[in-house]
Each structure stands twice: as C-alpha cells, then as structure tokens.
C-alpha cells in the first residue's frame, strides 16, 4: 500500500482517458473533484491486490450512464460514496477497499472520489482493462462470478438495490432501466468481491499502467516529442490511421451513445478513408470499407498534435485525429472473452481478428 500523489492522479486522468477508447466519460471532472479533495488535505492510497486477505470485501464502484450526461450533471464525491455505504448497509459488512469497474475514462478516478470520502484504499486494478458499455463486459463476468447485488444511488435521494438477477444481461437491463429513469447518470456499487476473487479474476495493475501512459504523454510534451509515439512505445500499440473527421452521426438510445464517425486520410493516409462505429466506446474501425481493428483490441482516437484522447461525445467535424490500437488484456482474448466483448457482442457479424495477432 502506498500514498498516491496528486500529480499521479493528473497522469492517471490522461492515461485513463486514452484507455477509455472513446468512452468511460472524460476524467476531467473527476480530476477537478480530486484536486479539490487534495487541496483539503486528502491523500488516497493505492493497494496491491496481494495485500488483500482472501475473505476481505472489495467494493467495485462506477459512475453509470451516458458520457454526455456526465458533462452536465456533475457527480460529486458524496454521491459516489453513497452507493458504497448503501451496499455496506445491505450486506451488514464493511469493505476493505474500493476498486474501479473500468480503468478507461472517468471511472478510473471515481473510486478515488469514493475512497477519499470513505477513507479506504483503492485497489490497483479493474475488471475491464479499458472501458466497455455494458455490465457483462467484465473479467468477472467472463469468469462467471455472481453479478448481484448491486446498489445504485441518484443525487435526488433515489436509491435502488438490485438484490438478484438471473444473468449478467438481466443485471445490465434492470440496472440500465433504473439508471435511465434517474437521468442516465447514477453512482453504482457493483456485486461485492472477495479478496480471492480480486486476486484470481480482476485485471491487476491497470491503475499503475494508466498512470504510466499518462506520465509518458506528459514527458513527451515537455520534451516536444510526439506524444502519440510515446503512447505506442509505453503501451506496445500500433498506429492505424491519421486524418480529419469529416462526418459524425450520433444517437442516444437506451442510455447509450451510438453512432459512426468518418475520417478522411491526411499525410501518409491521404486518399484513404477510415470509419469508426461506437457504442459509448469505439467498437470497430474500417479502412477503405474493410474491417481493420475491432473490440476487444483497444481503439483509441487521439488528437494528432497533443496526444489527448478524444471521446465519442467530443468528436467534432474538422478535428485532426490519429487512430491507434492497444493490446487488450489476455482474459478478453479467450474464446469466452470474445463471446462477451468481441465484435458480435456489439452487433457486428465479424470474426475477431486482433491487429496484434
């Protein structure tokens, strides 16, 4: 266990936004909350999973909803913590630590907000290694762990406990309906995990990894080196395409932001076209009409100059972007993993082929 400096939270925000693959919501607002908390004297702690006893309980927290909504209805640390204390009351047991559901996007920092209020350490890890839109798209689901109970807190004193669910899909459907009802944003505490479950089934070390990516980008910027090269280097990624956004179509359905973006090639890619499909996160990318990169490989769209990640809700006409792919955690690449988070899980009738294969 070690204290986390506020400068590491700053790096985490940059790295996690890249690992968010367009979704997970921008970490900026969560970062602002953390700056406020650190100014008030809070110091969060990061804990390795192997420091957990097998029967310790860990709260897996996330802010659920559409990223666009999170830009308007700003989440505060108290509401994040509320979902955790609701779960403790429901279980009649105390948590040893909190952990992020997804390291991609704002949900990498939300657990720190809850941890700061609750004075608990944060586990170095998550259960996606990136961001995904649905509850069954986790390493815990791939390992067939129990998916209930779940607590969901709204800022208006609405609270929901999903006591049981027949499957991950059912848990997703029921909690999603509740989330949409309260405005497509809610703080959630997912099914509590034992120390053993975390050690066996979580994607460990992903918090440290995200901090490392963020730090590499910051160092590259300071040295006037290409921050995208720095990301490719530190995260063993591949450059896929570079160009200018020339069309975006978005629609909000069932609490998801779905749509497509078209990129017109520039420089080395001039004369080529790239298109991206997203459901909160980028799911598939086509080069000149042929599938080029697909989930669970991480599809990251970065500002060509600054290396900052660009979210699916902030894509804009005229932006110059570079598309890169980063390798997915091994658990997502197993046959069971592909079933949960491969292209068919997002409605694309494609056989998964990794750019790293």
């Amino acid at each position: 266990m070690r204290p986390v400096g506020v400068e590491e939270i700053e790096s985490l925000a940059i790295g996690a936004w890249i690992l968010g693959t367009g979704g997970g919501g921008s970490p900026y607002l969560a970062l602002l909350n953390m700056r406020q908390l650190y100014r008030q004297g809070v110091v969060c702690r990061l804990m390795d999973a192997d420091e957990l006893a097998d029967d310790d309980l860990v709260a897996v927290v996330s802010n659920m909803g559409a990223p666009l909504v999170g830009q308007e209805r700003l989440t505060d640390p108290k509401t994040m913590a509320l979902a955790v204390t609701m779960m403790e009351e429901y279980l009649g047991r105390k948590f040893r630590a909190v952990m992020s559901l997804e390291i991609g996007g704002g949900n990498s920092i939300q657990p720190f907000m809850a941890a700061a209020v609750l004075d608990l350490p944060v586990i170095d890890g998550d259960c996606m290694g990136r961001a995904f839109p649905e509850a069954q798209m986790t390493s815990f689901a791939i390992h067939d762990l129990r998916m209930y109970p779940l607590t969901l807190a709204d800022v208006r004193d609405n609270a929901v406990v999903v006591a049981r669910a027949a499957s991950w899909k059912w848990m997703e459907r029921i909690s999603r309906k509740a989330c949409v009802e309260v405005g497509s944003i809610a703080s959630t505490c997912k099914a509590p995990r034992t120390g053993k479950e975390i050690k066996d089934c979580a994607i460990l070390g992903s918090t440290t990894k995200a901090i490392g990516i963020g730090r590499a980008v910051q160092a590259a910027r300071r040295a006037h080196r290409d921050p995208i090269d720095a990301v490719l280097e530190v995260a063993a990624g591949v450059k896929i395409f570079s160009g200018k956004i020339h069309d975006i179509a978005r629609r909000t359905t069932e609490g998801f932001l779905r749509g497509t973006a078209a990129v017109e090639g520039l420089d080395d890619y001039r004369g080529h076209a790239f298109s991206l499909a997203f459901q909160n996160e980028f799911a598939v990318g086509w080069l000149d009409g042929m599938p080029r990169v697909m989930t669970p490989d991480l599809i990251c769209v970065l500002d060509t100059v600054s290396g900052d990640a660009i979210g699916t809700e902030t894509l804009r006409y005229g932006q110059r972007v570079t598309v890169i792919a980063l390798p997915a955690p091994p658990i997502l690449l197993t046959p069971k993993g592909i079933e949960h988070v491969g292209p068919r899980a997002f409605g694309y009738d494609l056989d998964f082929r990794s750019v790293f294969a």
Partner: protein, 519 residues
C-alpha cells in the same frame, strides 16, 4: 466600387486599411494608445488623408484583441455574480472551480447555486427554485453587482430555467447585464458556464469600447456601419457584438491569417505574425486558420470556443533584449517582456534607453527605423547572437506547428515581419507580400458574412434535415449580404431529441460567404 475599411487594434499598433475591390489602396499604422480610441481616430484620419474615398466606404470592420488582452492581463474586468441552476447535482464543483485563483478573485463577486435544471430528455431535474433566485437577485442588487452570468444544467436542450432566472434578475436588478450560457455554448456545463462568466466580466468593457469605436468612426466622417470581426473570420454588427465580447476573442489572429492568405493568394501555408509583443504561428488550410482540436484556454480558463490553433511566443518588435555583458553577448536573453506600445519612446533608436529587438534589427540593417546612429555602438557579436536566437525561436515554433516533416511555405506578416529571416529550416520559401505589416487590418476588411440555423426538424431523415437547415442558413447569409456563389458550410451538428414525439433531430448548420458586390 466596393470599398471597405479594415481596422486592427493590437497591443502595440493600430492599423487601418482601405480595400477597394480586391486591392489595398491605402494603409496606416499608428501606435495603439492607452485609451484605444485616440489611436483609431489617428489611424482613420491618416487613412482619409491618403484616400478621401475612405469616407464613402460601405462597411468598416474592426478586429481587436482588446477583450482577450483584458482577461490575459487581468485588467478592466467587471465583477460578476455567477448563478448556477442544477442542484442537487454538481454541488462539489461550483462556478469558477477551474479558474486560476487570481482571476477568480478579481471576477467572483457572488456565487449562487440553486435547485433546477433539466434532464437530457427534457424533464426537469428538480423544480426550479424561483424563490431562491429572487432572494439572490436582491443580494445582487444590494451588492451593486452589475453583471450576472446564468448557467443551468442542460440549458442548450431546454433554456426555460435560464430564461426564468433572467426574468427574475431583470425584475429585481434593472439595468444589470445578464449573460445566459445557452446563447454561448453547447453541452458541457463547466465550459459553457466559463464562457458565460468570461462574457459577463467583459460586457461593460465591451460596451464602452464598442461605443468608443463607433464614435471614432463618426468623428472621422465615416458613415459606414461598424462591424466587429468574430473568432471565425465573420462579422457581427457592432450593436449586437457589444453583448458578446467572447465571440471576438480570437479575431486578431484569425484576421492576420485570413489577411495573409488574401495578400499572398496562398490557401495552404504556415503563417508567422510578428507583432510588437508576440509572434503567433498558425497554419492555413483552404484559406482558413486550422482550428485547435481541444478545449481552448483563455487566460487559463477552459472554454469550448473554436479558435485558430496557434503557437504564441514572446517575441516581437518591442521585445526586450537583456545582455548583462554587452561585449561577449553571454547570458543573452530575449523577452518575454516587451515595451509594447511604448516602443517609440523607449527603444534605443527612438531615443529611449531600453534595448529591444527592433534596435537589434536596425543595427543589423534589417530595417531602417528611428535614429540608426543610436545603435551604431552595439557590438556586432551581440547583434549576431540576438539574431541567431530569434531565428532559432521562429524555426522551433514553425516546426512545432507543422503536421508533417515536409517543407512548407511560410507567409510572414505583422509589423515585425522584418525579423523573419529569408531562409529557415523546414520552410520551402518565406513569402513577403505587399502590405504584410497590416495583414490583420486586411483580414478584417475581407471578413465574411455568416448564416446560422439551429432548428428542430421532425420526421425527416438526417440527410434531409441537414439539407433543409443548410438551405435556410444560406438564405440567411444571403439576406445578410453574402454572395450565394461563395457560400461554404463551416459547421454541421445534429443531436437527436429522444423526448419529443416523432423522430426529432436538432440540427445546427453554419455557413459563411463573401460579402456580395454591389452593382
């Protein structure tokens, strides 16, 4: 004949040009005065003297960095009451939360957070706390706060909360300026609120300045309507623009780059604009400045404005050169401090005692200004070291703004363009064009007219809705004086509204075109 006057009010110089058809027929450069207006009056007097036809101009366009500078330099800012409508959400991140503390302290007069706002689907978040608003408005009146910024959660989708709050403020505090966030920005509460707060703290300055501009124009015997140039290279009538100072934040660099494209007849190039205090480097794509992708910060405040992607360096004609040892030129530093508009008093060649970049340029024979003899004693080593440093600064800046490794042409503009060496690493050619010193004013004179439609269409396909919005926007631009044949779409945005019946799509299209020639 089409005659237009373009004026640029910079930190150091005020420039004016007369554009007749497509030719610059007269230009004047005068120092900016502390009161701004005197400088404009002098520039216009000079212009009329050189070209009496300027009095018959059909339009006068002013571009100014006055408002941005006010924020950056923390001066002439009004105190603002911030009203946020959206509790219980967002309580931990109040207005001004991501402002630099020094600026927040200057501007923040009162922060009011009230229940209200809307959901993404148009339902109320919680009922609007009108009673709380009335109580706050009374406090605002008692505290004699003159400007109020109001931002409500999801106001771009449903502005009712902001409108209702504004009505209460206007009732309780007659004469107070009210800025509503939904008129300035889109989704993204903090950035939209920041835009409203910046606008509110500048509104008094904007009114004063715009009216002074108009008076200066009239005093010069020019009856043409006055327009203020906007961030996107288009114009807005002064009486409308005075309520939206934030829209002209980036008009200075936009004008200089558009002017550079016009004068050089190049649409694809890098542009270096060397002024009195700073050097801006940008990139032209299709004759327009390439825009910054991400959130743009003004004086340290995050906003969602679309701004030219610029690299700004502290290098200009008035930049101070510090050399502790004149003989060896060791430890020589250039800037970022500048004598600004006091160049003509403080620089060595003008009889002052401050060593500036202009003095170095005169000593090196790059330009003939002031009294050359006064810099004759500068050691050659020092002059050479300073010029080498300046070249390195420009080369590094150019390199940072390039998007590929190939060589690109570079258009040199601005009053200090004599500082740009004829050959630079990574540059295919340095283009020096006539009137390059007044490119900003030329850019203002050629500013375009825009048309915008932001409308909800029902039961149309996305393509049909966009096509219809585009036609309506084009009609608006033509009505405002644009030539239909030159109209381009610059922005298309659509947002589905799930809460309305039918297949509802909010579509926003913005077009720009050249001002049509009068027969």
């Amino acid at each position: 004949m089409r005659r237009r006057i373009g004026i640029d009010v910079g930190g150091t110089n005020t420039d004016a040009v007369l554009l007749e058809e497509d030719a610059v027929t007269a230009s004047v450069k005068t120092p900016t005065t502390p009161d701004v207006t005197t400088g404009i009056t002098r520039a216009l007097a000079g212009l009329v003297e050189r070209a009496p036809g300027a009095r018959e101009a059909e339009a006068a366009m002013i571009g100014t960095t006055h408002f941005t500078n006010a924020v950056v330099q923390r001066r002439d800012l009004g105190r603002v009451a911030a009203v946020r409508i959206g509790l219980p959400s967002g309580a931990s991140l109040p207005p001004f939360v991501d402002w630099p503390e020094d600026l927040a302290e200057l501007v923040r007069a009162e922060v009011v957070m009230l229940e209200g706002g809307h959901e993404f689907d148009g339902r109320p978040l919680v009922p609007f706390d009108a009673r709380g608003m009335r109580a706050a408005a009374r406090r605002i009146r008692e505290a004699r706060i003159q400007s109020v910024a109001i931002a409500a959660v999801f106001s771009p989708l449903n502005a009712a909360g902001e409108e209702e709050a504004a009505a209460i403020v206007q009732e309780e505090c007659p004469g107070v300026a009210v800025t509503l966030s939904h008129r300035l920005g889109r989704i993204g509460l903090l950035e939209r609120e920041n835009a409203a707060l910046l606008n509110a703290c500048l509104i008094e300055l904007a009114r004063k300045t715009t009216r002074a501009f108009t008076e200066a124009l009239r005093a010069s015997g020019i009856a043409a309507p006055l327009y203020l140039t906007q961030n996107d290279g288009t114009v807005m009538l002064a009486e409308v623009a005075e309520s939206y100072p934030v829209y002209s934040f980036a008009s200075g660099p936009t004008n200089s780059m558009r002017g550079a494209a016009f004068l050089s007849k190049r649409d694809e190039a890098l542009v270096v604009d060397v002024g009195g205090t700073t050097t801006d480097i940008g990139s032209l794509r299709h004759g327009f400045p390439r825009e910054a992708n991400n959130v743009v910060e003004i004086g340290g405040v995050r906003t969602l404005f679309r701004m030219p992607d610029l690299l700004s360096m502290g290098l200009g004609g008035g930049t101070r050169v510090l050399a502790p040892d004149l003989g060896t030129a060791s430890a020589l530093t250039i800037g970022p401090a500048s004598v600004g508009y006091r160049l003509t008093e403080q620089a060595l060649v003008f009889g002052g005692d401050v060593l500036t970049v202009t003095d170095v340029a005169v000593a090196a024979g790059l330009i003939d200004l002031g009294d050359r003899k006064r810099v004759a004693s500068l050691p050659a080593k020092l002059v050479e070291a300073a010029l080498t440093r300046i070249r390195a600064m420009i080369e590094e800046g150019v390199d940072r703004m390039k998007t590929d490794a190939g060589e690109a042409p570079l258009i040199a503009v601005g009053g200090g363009s004599f500082l740009v060496p004829p050959r630079l690493a990574g540059v295919s050619e340095v283009l020096n064009v006539p009137h390059q010193a007044v490119a900003n004013a030329v850019g203002a004179a050629i500013a375009q007219v825009s048309g915008e439609v932001d409308q909800i269409f029902q039961d149309l396909s996305r393509d049909e809705a966009i096509a219809r919005a585009r036609r309506a926007a084009e009609d608006k631009a033509v009505a405002a004086g644009a030539d239909r044949a030159t109209i381009n779409v610059v922005e298309v945005e659509d947002l589905p509204l799930a809460y309305l019946p039918g297949n509802s799509l909010r579509t926003r299209v913005r077009v720009v075109g050249e001002i049509a020639r009068h027969a």
